[in-house]
């Protein structure tokens, strides 16, 4: 039993879902994704228990002779953690869509599973080429999900989605070039070999920047973020959740796994520029979130701010920064899915995303509002939520790098509280007369799962820390050694 099983289940699940027909699609998808999560969790458990887990649980097989590509799915702490995120969120996301009366459900859920497959593949791949393939592959389902099941004006949506696709595609092509370039040096795409490519200064710069372009667009880091808010707004909730919950983590993960170890010298030399850029994104996103009148857009910009901090932490190239980044990725994944789900629930009931049209919901829905509140609080990183753990480590790593970065980045906890509470106030509080049904059982289950994760790991993040720390240390050793 090794990690490739996760991918097989997800891919097979995608096909099965597609064939199962509209009536059963959602259930089949849920079943498969849950199994995938179960397998991932079991593998994680095994990871702690077996000897030499990276060997036992990895999968490696020659794929293409020329270029030399190996089907290498590696089980290390980092990849397992990200796979856990993916497989844990997928069933939740599927659950959140249960109430939606989509046409062509089979394709919809099939695409979701396929996307989960691609994303899990991205996280598990140890071979750069393979990684790139999964990276690109994950674009296609989300494109269709957003295009076909999205809301709002069709023309506007198309524009936003195409812009998103072209933009991200553009970025990743440059990453491909970078990979090819290094491959010419190493003759192999295996991460280890790529790390040891011995590039000179100019080469490192170009490669770093190529990677940066890909990741900056995907994460997004300002000023490459313009696709984000529109797509988040236009895509169906499940799509937005996939995008913000998992997909953008692909890029953050990649910074740690690929970009920094491959171009460590350049990164070390100019890291402050990138940290500053990311931190600027934090402020920029927060301030923009303040001005939003559309709920989903507000959440989008808040996401921009949060991931900016994660990226900044990753660029500090310290254990704290890396670990904080990973933990915060996981935390943000859950919380953002929850928040978008809350937005979706409101949209289902009120048929609007405009904050101004909402209000007085708390009056009608004690359960929903409590859950929403908890999510809001987690999002503003209240201690004892998972997000705090991540954010604390991130800010601490920034403080180690440069105290002013931490101060500026830390403004997020003020501004974040500002816009999130303001949003909550306008959306949920106040007086209102419109009817608003409280959460259904399925919706409630999704919320409870998310909240449980956020609170549990907020208090007891140790398992995750123990999972990722050795791997991150290893990566850091590479980075340091190569210096």
């Amino acid at each position: 039993m090794n990690v490739s099983l996760i991918l097989v289940i997800l891919l097979f699940g995608a096909l099965a879902t597609w064939y199962s027909g509209d009536k059963w699609a959602s259930k089949v998808a849920l079943a498969f994704s849950t199994v995938a999560f179960g397998v991932t969790a079991f593998l994680t458990y095994r990871f702690f228990t077996v000897d030499n887990p990276t060997v036992t649980l990895s999968f490696s097989k020659m794929w293409i002779a020329n270029p030399r590509v190996v089907l290498f799915f590696k089980a290390d702490g980092l990849s397992l953690a990200m796979a856990l995120l993916t497989t844990a969120l997928t069933p939740i996301i599927i659950l959140t869509s249960f109430a939606n009366l989509f046409p062509r459900k089979a394709s919809f859920y099939g695409l979701i599973l396929f996307m989960a497959f691609a994303m899990a593949g991205t996280f598990l791949s140890e071979d750069g080429f393979l990684y790139y393939i999964f990276w690109e592959l994950s674009l296609i389902p989300i494109y269709f999900i957003a295009l076909m099941w999205g809301g709002g004006d069709a023309e506007e949506r198309k524009k936003a989605v195409v812009k998103f696709f072209i933009y991200t595609f553009a970025g990743s092509l440059f990453m491909l070039l970078a990979f090819i370039y290094i491959y010419q040096r190493t003759g192999s795409f295996l991460a280890f070999n790529l790390y040891n490519a011995r590039l000179n200064e100019t080469e490192e710069m170009l490669i770093f920047l190529a990677f940066f372009l890909a990741y900056a667009i995907k994460i997004p880091i300002i000023p490459f973020h313009t696709w984000q808010a529109n797509v988040y707004q236009k895509a169906p909730a499940a799509g937005t959740m996939l995008l913000s919950g998992i997909m953008l983590k692909m890029a953050l993960f990649s910074i740690i796994k690929w970009q920094l170890p491959i171009a460590p010298h350049f990164a070390e030399k100019y890291k402050y520029i990138f940290i500053a850029l990311c931190v600027a994104g934090v402020i920029y996103g927060s301030i923009l979130a303040l001005k939003q009148t559309n709920l989903k857009k507000l959440l989008a910009y808040s996401s921009l701010a949060h991931v900016g901090l994660v990226a900044a932490g990753a660029y500090t190239m310290t254990l704290d920064g890396f670990r904080g980044a990973v933990l915060q990725m996981l935390a943000h994944g859950f919380v953002v899915v929850g928040l978008f789900f809350a937005a979706e629930i409101i949209e289902r009931r009120f048929a609007t995303q405009e904050i101004a049209d909402m209000g007085g919901i708390r009056l009608k829905t004690p359960v929903f509002s409590s859950m929403f509140m908890i999510l809001v609080l987690a999002s503003v990183a209240l201690p004892s939520t998972f997000n705090f753990v991540g954010e604390f480590e991130l800010l601490y790593s920034l403080a180690q790098a440069n105290i002013w970065m931490a101060v500026v980045g830390g403004l997020t906890i003020i501004l974040g509280a500002f816009y999130m509470l303001r949003m909550f106030q306008q959306v949920m509080l106040g007086d209102g007369t419109r009817a608003f049904a409280d959460v259904t059982v399925i919706e409630g289950v999704a919320f409870v799962l998310i909240i449980a994760v956020l609170l549990f790991f907020g208090v007891y993040p140790k398992p995750l820390v123990e999972l990722v720390t050795p791997t991150l240390n290893e990566l850091l050793t590479y980075i340091k050694q190569l210096r």
């Binding site: 072209i166 303040l290 708390r362 201690p383 830390g410 500002f418 509470l421 106030q425 007086d431 208090v459």
Partner: protein, 626 residues
């Protein structure tokens, strides 16, 4: 055993919270109220147990649960420390908490969300306990933010009213500003000491590590900013008066007795560090003094009964910081305790009044309640005397010590503090007179319904009044039990002044000052029978004061508005520009495509012409051009 008891202490309120959240509605209002009260009472009992134990053994109890955060340089565990300081705090937190819970059962009885109220209160107590019990800064931070959250929830308890929600939000955000400072302070301390445990830091300090004083100063300053946020000091004090939007028991518990003293607790906790940074202490003293004066001056003219009390709280907190700034931690703690007694009593009393008047808070519409609400009046009077600093009430001792310390520290600060005290005496008596004396100025209907509050409300009042009366006993000048008790946790005890002539003179001045304040109030509101004018008629200095020096407006103008303006700029200019740039690429591509399409004009002759020119170009460039 100790661990389990400590956990019981900590989690009893949390259990109360959970039960109230999930089953509150089912078990009914009274049950949920009593349950909440019982939960805190359990904590109180356990605290008492520990308190007695520690008082006798003089050994701190520490409880270690599990590792929480794991950073490169240090780890943070869920560890709790029950030493003299925390137990002292726990005593009055749980004690007063229990009383206020009890009070709330009656006070909130008409509210449909009573179970939620108790849930929040319990949660608050839980977080407050976490804050106090935590053995490191980060656990304290959990409580620190947690109480802020509960404060937010409780201020906005009546969430239908968006003004209340605004107040709640404001409280949370202003607290968060402080929290950022706190967090940065933590970072620097962690960087310096590689630990956040108080005991470890203290050991490190005492072992005379070479510590970078600059960074330490910055760290302590940051922590002080945190304290400013939580304890409502300049410039982060404006949330507290607004926080009065919450139900009165909340104001009593959170915004008078417990949460707002978290800043003082923190500073006292870290006194061994603050001792190393006299500059920060100096700043603290100045900020405290100025806060106390400004808040008191605003309090002079407020007409909302709770607002007056709120400003009074800010002012008293300022005095406490003045004491801290002078390095007299025990004295600050002393004042915290006495203040908790009398201010809680005052708030609860005002709550009783408001309850009787069905929500009326404007003193201009009160008066003459003395006759109807005898118990309330009596307790209120005692507390007012206490806060005004008249012997032998508890406030006299604590305040006097502060002023005395300030006098020895810096005369200017002393003068400021004294002025604030005089003002306090004035406005408290103004409050008393306007509320309880003369004739009732409200509507007939209100008058008709006037009544003394039920026993559940008056009982806590009586208890607190008694405490306000005798609370000074714990630290009598010259024979302070408190100082001795706290000695293990205070690294450098305050200089204890022998009661010499200067000291007696200062006491005299204080008493006289208080009397002067009372006298003016009497003259103005009893003799002349003045009633404060309507809002629109308040002008001049009074207007300035009444509008709180326009600080809120200034903040809006220099912080909030600019942020929104920047936001607009970002939204309308930068976003549009970046987006335009991206789309610009697309548009440019389409434009070029159109041009290219236009060349494709369908004429074979033209195509061939280009063909031939292409040949010329290629052949020429290969063979003819050097």
């Amino acid at each position: 055993m100790e661990t389990n008891l400590a956990l019981l202490l900590l989690f009893a309120p949390f259990a109360g919270f959970l039960i109230n959240v999930f089953f509150g509605k089912k078990i009914g209002k009274n049950a949920s109220g009593y349950l909440g009260t019982a939960a805190v009472a359990v904590s109180f009992v356990v605290t008492l147990f520990f308190f007695l134990q520690v008082s006798s053994t003089k050994k701190a109890i520490s409880v270690e649960l599990f590792e929480w955060l794991n950073l490169q340089n240090f780890t943070v565990g869920f560890n709790f420390l029950l030493d003299q300081l925390s137990l002292l705090w726990l005593m009055f937190v749980t004690g007063i908490g229990t009383l206020i819970h009890l009070y709330s059962i009656s006070y909130m009885h008409d509210d449909e969300n009573m179970h939620k109220f108790f849930a929040y209160l319990n949660l608050f107590v839980f977080f407050m306990l976490t804050l106090v019990m935590g053995s490191n800064l980060l656990i304290m931070f959990i409580g620190w933010e947690g109480v802020g959250l509960c404060s937010y929830l409780l201020i906005g308890f009546w969430y239908k009213n968006q003004d209340y929600n605004d107040a709640a939000k404001k409280a949370f955000i202003m607290n968060r500003i402080g929290d950022l400072g706190f967090l940065i302070g933590i970072f620097i301390l962690a960087h310096i000491f590689h630990t956040l445990e108080y005991t470890n830091i203290r050991t490190a300090v005492e072992n005379a590590w070479t510590i970078d004083r600059t960074w330490l100063t910055i760290a302590m300053l940051c922590l002080f900013i945190g304290a400013c946020g939580k304890s409502a000091q300049i410039p982060l004090y404006t949330w507290l008066p607004d926080a009065m939007a919450g139900p009165t028991p909340v104001s009593a518990l959170i915004h008078a007795a417990t949460m707002v003293t978290a800043g003082i607790f923190m500073v006292t906790r870290l006194n061994f560090l603050f001792n190393l940074t006299p500059d920060v202490l100096e700043v603290m003293a100045i900020v405290g003094a100025i806060t106390s004066l400004i808040a008191a001056s605003i309090g002079l003219v407020q007409n909302d009964i709770k607002k007056v009390l709120a400003y009074s709280t800010v002012s008293q907190l300022g005095l406490m910081f003045l004491a801290l700034g002078c390095g007299a931690y025990e004295i600050a703690v002393f004042h915290v305790i006495t203040h908790a007694f009398f201010k809680a009593c005052l708030f609860l009393g005002s709550g009783s009044v408001i309850h009787a008047l069905h929500g009326e808070q404007d003193m201009r519409n009160m008066g003459g309640l003395r006759k109807v609400m005898k118990i309330t009046f009596a307790t209120f009077l005692i507390s007012t005397l206490a806060i005004s600093g008249l012997p032998p009430f508890s406030g006299f001792f604590s305040k006097d010590e502060i002023l005395m310390t300030a006098f020895h520290h810096n005369t200017v600060l002393y003068v400021i503090g004294s002025l604030a005290s005089i003002m306090t005496a004035f406005y408290m008596f103004r409050l008393l007179y306007l509320t309880f004396y003369k004739d009732f100025r409200g509507t007939e209907e209100q008058k008709h319904h006037l009544h003394e509050s039920p026993g559940l409300i008056t009982f806590p009042l009586i208890v607190l009044a008694i405490l306000a009366l005798v609370g000074g006993a714990i630290s009598l000048p010259g024979a302070s039990w408190l100082n001795e008790y706290l000695a293990p946790v205070i690294a450098k005890p305050a200089v204890h002044h022998h009661l010499g002539p200067t000291e007696y003179m200062l006491m005299g001045i204080a008493v006289v000052g208080a009397l002067v304040g009372i006298g003016i109030a009497y003259a103005k509101y009893m003799n002349k029978g003045e009633v404060p004018p309507q809002d629109s008629e308040i002008k001049g200095v009074a207007g300035l004061l009444y509008n709180k020096y326009y600080v809120d407006e200034v903040y809006t103008a220099i912080i909030v508005k600019p942020i929104y303006a920047i936001g607009s700029f970002f939204k309308n200019v930068t976003e549009a520009a970046i987006s335009g740039l991206v789309f610009g690429f697309g548009k440019a591509a389409v434009f070029l495509g159109k041009q290219g399409g236009a060349v494709q004009n369908g004429s074979v002759g033209f195509y061939l012409l280009i063909f031939v020119l292409g040949i010329c170009a290629i052949v020429g460039s290969i063979f003819l051009i050097k």
